[in-house]
């Protein structure tokens, strides 16, 4: 395996972090969906590249799943839900975009710091790939934390999954079971989220979790 | 044979205190009357009173229980036994190991316990007043007395009155501030315990401040007689204690023979007479205090006793 291949993989991983930042930056529902589609697309390309350089054809499946499900289907479905529910207004952030971005940068720095002492046989590039994957995960978490809107949170969660896929495919030769399980969990996640969203639609006027919070047990 | 003789001497003391006690009471009354420029009753008037009471019929309250009827005898017996165990004319009598100073105090406590119960038995308010106050006084007097016992034990290494008396008669004592404090404390306790002025007035019946007399208000006839006898015995007992501890002169030692006893007996009587005289003087010059001042009076006694014990540590310097 030559260093060019790794450099390309590295590039994709880096660009995924960038897209994660873009996700964080968005405050419009539809553009959020679009950026997420881009996010999934980058993951898909990255996985495909890994399949290519690792000579692991099963990874193409993962790439395809990511492309079809996350880059195409889910954004469309979510788009429809948003339209049907009429919640295509601005996303409410808990803290300002600026502070969120600052926090995101801090998280990326943290990921790199944490990864520094790791010494693997493959050298520094794998380490940095891992750092990127960790960054994507942490940024996804940050997004879930900083968005009041359920759709935003779901997208944050899915960006975490993307980070995981990035990490999993970066780990060479990891048995297939992991990829399948990731896809599997995403599928189930979607189904369940769909069910819930449906029910939530049935009972509440919005999927804003504030509405849910009103019905907590024990609140006087 | 010797044992029988010892027991006889002990029985002699039993009789002695019983016979002397009313005389002491009469004597104190007489002195008090003289101090007030009255003639006062005869010295033997208490004997006459007892005799009269003993022959009278007992009038029991409707509600009186067996506690009420047995209490006088128990009080009398307990006080009598206690008085007989204090060295009077001789130390080391055969029964004296039966009780040290602490046990004697406790015996008096038993008598008081019965008396207080008897006061409550009929269910009148006066009886209750008496019992309640008596127990309050006792709750302060007893610790004071025990602290005095502690002081003495610290000094003499014993709570056995015979040993204490022997030690006090010896040369090792010297004059000590502690002893003076203990003496004052003991006198204060004795005054309180014997229902004397300023704590209580034995010669009154219609005063809301009465203590001892309130408890025995319902008693009559022979019951009253034995209770009065017990009260006299108690006064004698306290004077005997003060005498044997603080004026241990002329006390015979058991087994010295009748000649020694014959010599020590007058010494004992003189001590009693002196003590009684001082008591009468004290009672005459002081005024009765309110019941709730009694706690301060006895608190002072307790403090004196404690101080006496602590000073002893300092003066001994060990």
């Amino acid at each position: 395996m030559d260093s060019f291949a790794l450099d390309v993989a590295h590039l994709f991983a880096g660009s995924l972090v960038l897209v994660s930042f873009m996700l964080l930056y968005q405050d419009r529902m539809f553009s959020l969906l679009n950026i997420f589609a881009l996010h999934a697309f980058v993951v898909s390309v990255s996985v495909a590249w890994q399949a290519h350089i690792q000579n692991a054809p099963h990874l193409y499946i993962t790439a395809a799943i990511a492309l079809v499900v996350k880059a195409i289907v889910i954004p469309i479905v979510l788009h429809r839900i948003i339209v049907r529910l009429g919640i295509h207004r601005n996303i409410e952030n808990v803290v300002g975009i600026g502070q969120t971005m600052l926090g995101g940068i801090g998280l990326v720095a943290l990921s790199i710091m944490v990864m520094l002492p790791i010494t693997t046989a493959e050298g520094t590039l794998v380490r940095e790939d891992l750092a990127f994957a960790l960054s994507v995960i942490l940024l996804g978490l940050l997004m879930m934390v900083s968005r009041r809107n359920a759709v935003g949170q779901v997208i944050g969660f899915m960006s975490i999954e993307n980070g995981l896929i990035l990490a999993a495919t970066g780990a060479k030769g990891m048995p297939l079971v992991v990829e399948i399980s990731v896809a599997f969990s995403i599928l189930i996640a979607l189904i369940v989220i769909g069910i819930f969203l449906f029910r939530i639609r049935e009972r509440f006027d919005s999927v804003d979790l504030h509405a849910l919070d009103r019905f907590r047990g024990e609140r006087p | 044979m010797a044992v029988i003789l010892d027991i006889l001497v002990q029985l002699g003391q039993l009789l002695l205190v019983l016979l002397l006690a009313p005389l002491l009471t009469g004597y104190v009354r007489k002195i008090k009357a003289h101090l007030l420029r009255r003639r006062g009753p005869d010295l033997i008037q208490p004997y006459r009173d007892l005799h009269k009471l003993l022959r009278k019929e007992v009038v029991l309250a409707d509600n009186a229980s067996w506690v009420f009827r047995t209490a006088p005898y128990l009080i009398f017996a307990t006080t009598w036994v206690a008085a007989a165990l204090v060295p009077t004319f001789a130390t080391g009598l055969v029964f004296s190991p039966a009780a040290d100073l602490i046990a004697i105090v406790a015996l008096l406590g038993s008598a008081r316990f019965m008396l207080a119960l008897a006061g409550l038995d009929v269910g009148t308010s006066f009886g209750g007043i008496g019992s309640s106050r008596e127990m309050m006084i006792a709750s302060l007097a007893e610790p004071a007395l025990l602290m005095i016992a502690f002081t003495l034990s610290l000094l003499a290494g014993s709570t056995q009155l015979s040993s204490v008396a022997t030690y006090m008669a010896g040369p090792a004592v010297g004059l000590r501030v502690s002893l003076a404090m203990a003496l004052v404390g003991l006198v204060m306790v004795a005054i309180a315990e014997n229902a004397r002025i300023p704590v209580d007035n034995p010669a009154t019946h219609l005063e809301l401040t009465m203590v001892h007399e309130a408890m025995i208000l319902e008693y009559s006839g022979r019951h009253l007689a034995v209770i009065e006898a017990a009260a006299s015995l108690k006064l004698l007992l306290y004077l005997s204690i003060i005498g044997c501890v603080f004026a241990p002169w002329g006390v015979a030692v058991a087994g010295e023979g009748f000649a020694a006893y014959a010599a020590s007996l007058p010494a004992y009587v003189i001590k009693l007479a002196a003590g009684g005289f001082l008591l009468a003087v004290f009672e005459t010059v002081i005024a009765k205090m309110r019941v709730f001042r009694v706690s301060e009076f006895l608190g002072a006694a307790l403090m004196l006793a404690l101080l006496a014990a602590l000073l002893l540590f300092v003066s001994r310097g060990t």
Binding site: V114, M115, P117, I118, T119, T120, A121, E122, V126, L130, A133, L134, I137, L141, M144, Q153, F157, I160, E161, G163, L164, A167, A168, A171, K172, G173, M174, P175, V177, V178, S181, V182, F184, S185, I188, A189, V192, I193, F196, R199, I200, R203, L212, D213, F215, R216, G217, E218 | -
Partner: protein
């Protein structure tokens, strides 16, 4: 893989899987409950035979000293809970809280959950175990929301979101473990097998293991319900059907903790790695103290016992964090005892809530008067769970506290005070629930008392006598845990 042992292992997985399918499609609701019981019973019987025959470890499945007790426990509680569930669900049908369609769904999910938990325990592959734990989580999410009340949906939603985040973190940790091992063991299944990982862990990159453990601790710790990752737990317990609360507290928390234990073994086999102890001790103590205080302000009986589960998970984490043969032994024992006791408590609580028609503790009073068996069952359960003797929980808490105090007095005192505070809260509530004049319905309960009292009897017996075989296994595992 054709020796009798591996057949048994397969049976343990296949029986629930087949039952799940059957129950999903069989229409008759009278037999379904019985079929459910039968399925769990068969699984239990298979599991018990594991004491006798033990299969060779494969790359996917394994039976060793570490998990054999937990498998039997899992199937046992699964069985007793299904018995309890039978009478519980009958009542729910009567009152109309559940329809027949949902019942089918419920039973199928129950068996799926059993399958997933058994798989998680049996897995010799970190990935497989992860999959199983996630499956278990998802099934319970569905069951928690089965009543479709506002509260239930919200609880399920909360559980789902927090659980999914946990899933993600745990997966990342798993990937990291694989990365650490594959550089030593080479690529492939070997690099994910427990049996191999533990043996070769000393050669792994410690830094990678450390990072992995942080993620695993938080990921699986979310499932375990350690504070501050606990938020899903009380509501999920309170709003779902009570059999699910019993299984959640009794089994699923254990399974997640079990996963953590496996990783802890790997950690302690590597001398260069960060000692996982302080992290677990910290999380454990925080959970104990936090849950203890939270117990005081609870109104809902099931939510209160859910917090008690958090407390006990904290105790167990603390024990494993402290390490040493005594504390590890105590931790293992406590896991088993807690799962039996807590499920027993939920059995009685379930019937109580049905009879009284409420979960609000202020409306439940004098149970020992109105429903002596349920009431005393609850009393026994609470008395056991707070660690009063002569039960197994007392034994494990005794070992934890005494062995800790000589080493780290401050920690032991904090833990002890936490336990005391929790005891204060639980007893305070118990006083109201069980004693005094009865309030509310006096209707007789058609409860199944057998599971309740069986569990309590086992816990009591364990406090007095532990079978030597179990002890030797535990001691072996305690050694591995370091």
């Amino acid at each position: 893989m054709s020796d009798p042992g591996s057949l048994v292992v397969r049976a343990i997985l296949i029986i629930p899987a087949v039952s799940a399918v059957l129950l999903a499609f069989l229409p008759d609701d009278r037999t379904t409950a019985r079929l459910n019981v039968l399925g769990t019973l068969l699984t239990l019987i298979c599991a018990v035979t594991l004491f006798l025959v033990r299969p060779e470890p494969g790359l996917f499945l394994i039976v060793d000293d570490v998990n054999v007790v937990f498998i039997v426990l899992n199937t046992f509680v699964g069985f007793t809970t299904s018995v309890f569930s039978g009478s519980y669900i009958a009542h729910e049908l009567e009152t109309g809280r559940l329809t027949h369609a949902y019942l089918r769904f419920y039973h199928a999910m129950y068996q799926t959950l059993m399958f997933a938990m058994n798989l998680a325990l049996l897995a010799n592959n970190v990935g497989l175990m992860w999959v199983a734990v996630e499956l278990a989580t998802l099934t319970t999410v569905l069951m928690v929301g089965i009543y479709r009340t506002h509260e239930a949906l919200e609880a399920a939603w909360k559980y789902f979101i927090l659980g999914s985040v946990g899933i993600a973190l745990a997966l990342f940790g798993t990937i990291l473990v694989y990365l650490a091992s594959s550089s030593v063991l080479g690529e492939g299944l070997e690099a994910m097998a427990w049996s191999v990982l533990v043996q070769r862990a000393s050669a792994f990159d410690p830094a990678l293991l450390n990072l992995a453990f942080v993620f695993l601790l938080l990921g699986y710790g979310t499932k375990v319900g350690l504070a501050p990752l606990h938020a899903w737990l009380p509501d999920a317990h309170a709003e779902g059907p009570t059999p699910i609360s019993a299984v959640l507290s009794g089994l699923l928390l254990n399974v997640a903790l079990f996963a953590l234990l496996r990783f802890k073994m790997v950690m302690s086999a590597n001398s260069g790695a960060l000692a996982p102890g302080p992290l677990m001790v910290t999380l454990g103590l925080v959970s104990v103290v936090f849950a203890a205080f939270m117990l005081y302000r609870r109104d809902d009986i099931k939510r209160m016992f859910a917090y008690s589960s958090i407390e006990h998970m904290g105790i167990i984490s603390f024990a494993f964090g402290m390490g040493g043969p005594l504390a590890n032994f105590a931790g293992l024992l406590h896991m088993i005892m807690h799962s039996l006791t807590k499920s027993a408590i939920f059995f009685s609580v379930g019937h109580i809530a049905q009879v009284k028609g409420t979960q609000k503790m202020d409306d439940i009073r004098g149970l020992t008067v109105s429903h002596p068996l349920l009431g005393w069952g609850l009393v026994l359960g609470v008395v056991t769970i707070v660690g009063l003797p002569p039960t197994g929980i007392f034994m494990s808490e005794f070992l934890i506290l005494t062995s800790t105090f000589a080493r780290a007095p401050v920690l032991a005192v904090v833990l002890g005070l936490g336990l005391l505070i929790a005891l204060g809260a639980l007893l305070y509530r118990l006083n109201g629930l069980a004693f005094g004049d009865a309030v509310g319905s006096n209707a007789p309960s058609r409860a199944s008392y057998v599971p309740l009292f069986t569990h309590l009897a086992v816990v009591l017996a364990a406090g007095i006598f532990l079978p030597p075989l179990l002890v030797s296994w535990f001691q072996h595992v305690a050694e591995l845990l370091g």
